[in-house]
């Protein structure tokens, strides 16, 4: 018997393994577990893929909106069309993935879908801001997905955090391309709005629950980025007021961040003009 025991150790012959499986009283139970776990993993993968697709489309929506030149008024038709197309595509993805995010699954896969949802909130909030000059309320975001999935306050806040970055890019481009930025009402409004948002964010007590609260550590990171964004615009406006009269045509504030935004094509053209 001892030899049988030993020979089994390094290379188990197939027939012994098969026999072992047959006598295994727990196997049918584990087969059931496998099916259940597979179902869970497959669903998880689907949610992750949907989240990535929503992220990609939302980024395109943001680029589209960044190309607008006149803030706080409806988008030009061509941009509006582009935006609507992407928007419909996202709606489509959401309606397809929505069955995987119902009832008990809504929170089970919340972490997987959250990234896409945040990006989506950023996109429609940016669109809402540039067309109306207001911050989109959570209820409107929820309405936009027709209650197919639940938008949590956490996702909303994190999405709005990222909105600040887009507002910064747009403001910098606006300062660079519009004449007389120092007296421009729209530039003034953009700056005021950024500061107001910053105040609200700073007022939020997100540290409750010891850093692992509703929004987790992400907020601390985003708070720093957000403050930097606001300060960039403040510096740019200040720069225009101080040196505005001297600036050559097509002068761009020295803020490379702005170039990374949607306006890069434009900025190239401005350089060509010189």
């Amino acid at each position: 018997m001892a030899t049988a025991q030993r020979s089994r150790e390094p290379h188990r012959p197939k027939n012994i393994l098969a026999q072992e499986l047959q006598n295994n009283p727990y196997l049918s139970m584990f087969n059931h577990f496998r099916d259940e776990l597979d179902e869970h993993h497959d669903r998880r993968e689907r949610v992750i893929k949907a989240s990535r697709d929503i992220t990609a489309l939302s980024k395109k929506m943001i680029f589209t909106v960044q190309r607008a030149r006149e803030p706080f008024s409806p988008l030009p038709t061509s941009l509006s069309k582009e935006y609507e197309t992407r928007f419909k595509q996202i709606q489509n993805i959401i309606s397809i993935i929505s069955p995987d995010l119902q009832e008990i699954s809504a929170y089970r896969y919340a972490r997987q879908i959250s990234g896409g949802i945040q990006e989506y909130i950023e996109a429609i909030a940016f669109h809402h801001y540039l067309t109306t000059g207001k911050l989109i309320p959570l209820s409107a975001v929820q309405q936009s997905v027709k209650s197919l999935i639940e938008i949590t306050p956490g996702d909303y806040i994190l999405g709005i955090f990222d909105l600040v970055g887009e507002m910064m890019r747009f403001s910098i481009t606006m300062i660079a391309t519009r004449g007389g930025a120092g007296k421009d009402e729209k530039v003034a409004k953009a700056l005021r709005d950024l500061r107001e948002l910053r105040l609200e964010f700073e007022g939020l007590d997100t540290a409750l629950g010891g850093g692992s609260g509703l929004l987790g550590k992400e907020v601390q990171k985003k708070l720093g980025v957000m403050k930097a964004c606001v300060e960039k615009v403040e510096a740019a406006v200040c720069g225009v007021i101080v040196r505005g009269s001297e600036r050559p045509k097509g002068w761009i504030p020295d803020l490379t961040e702005a170039v990374r935004g949607g306006g890069s094509g434009r900025i190239d053209r401005i350089y060509e003009d010189e």
Binding site: Q5, R34, P137, G180, G203
Partner: protein, 262 residues
């Protein structure tokens, strides 16, 4: 330049509402942690009772396991207390906070069940309680897929099974110290069954996978003890046979302790 219409951009109510959510959320988490403290205390108590299996002689094990019953009753109450706190919220919203504690509780249920079945006089069937049985002992449903209620998940149960394997690996060594050569053989068979059962699962790169990968070391360790016992003829002949022959042997063996107990 043309636009003079400047609205206040931010509706303060949005942030106030979110702030309220954050506060509720942190309160719930605090309550959960309080409830877990009670459960954790009982877990330690029951663990210390059941861990005595490593030092008491085999004939006293059944008796030992029943002394944990009071503790299990309090654990059930503790879990009920936790459920009362979280029942109004989505299950997966907070389950990460207590998942580990529930795994520990499930492990204790499995451990007690295994000891009771494996040390029972005349019964040498290695026995793993099913997930339903564990849920039954704790008074909670298991593996809910649509209904959003508190339950024991498959992952938690499987973690508990791995915990049991780790504990039994230790027991193998200590059983030998007690001159109990029956248990190492039962555990060997049991762990091999669990090991091959785990291999049918398609585990992703998660905590279960990492912990499950350790199974082979448990198999190896228990096999080595058994090999040494067989080599020195400390296990009666035919002991490593599969099937009925083995059961027959085991019954004979088990009579020893059972007679002493009566």
């Amino acid at each position: 330049m043309s636009s003079g219409n400047i609205y206040a951009m931010v509706d303060p109510e949005i942030f106030a509402a979110v702030q309220e959510q954050i506060e509720i959320d942190s309160q719930v988490k605090e309550d959960i942690r309080e409830a877990l403290k009670i459960i954790d205390k009982e877990v330690r108590l029951v663990t210390s009772i059941l861990s005595r299996v490593h030092i008491v002689s085999p004939e006293h094990v059944i008796e030992l396991t029943t002394t944990a019953d009071e503790g299990f009753k309090r654990l059930r109450d503790g879990i009920q207390g936790l459920i009362d706190i979280v029942k109004d919220y989505p299950y997966y919203k907070y389950n990460g906070i207590w998942s580990r504690d529930i795994q520990n509780v499930a492990f204790l249920v499995l451990f007690q069940g295994w000891l009771q079945r494996s040390y029972a006089p005349g019964n040498a069937e290695n026995s793993l309680m099913t997930i339903e049985e564990v849920g039954g002992v704790l008074g909670i449903p298991v593996n809910l897929k649509t209904e959003d209620r508190f339950h024991l998940t498959i992952e938690e149960y499987l973690h508990a099974v791995l915990g049991l394997v780790e504990e039994l690996t230790r027991l193998t060594t200590n059983a030998v110290t007690q001159h109990d050569f029956l248990r190492p053989r039962m555990i060997n068979r049991f762990i091999k069954d669990i090991h091959s059962s785990f291999q049918v699962l398609n585990l992703k790169n998660d905590s279960l996978r990492r912990r499950g990968d350790g199974l082979k070391y448990n198999v190896k360790k228990v096999e080595e003890v058994n090999y040494d016992l067989i080599l020195r003829n400390l296990i009666p002949t035919g002991a490593d046979e599969e099937g009925t022959e083995k059961k027959g042997d085991v019954k004979e063996d088990a009579k020893g302790p059972s007679e002493q107990q009566e």
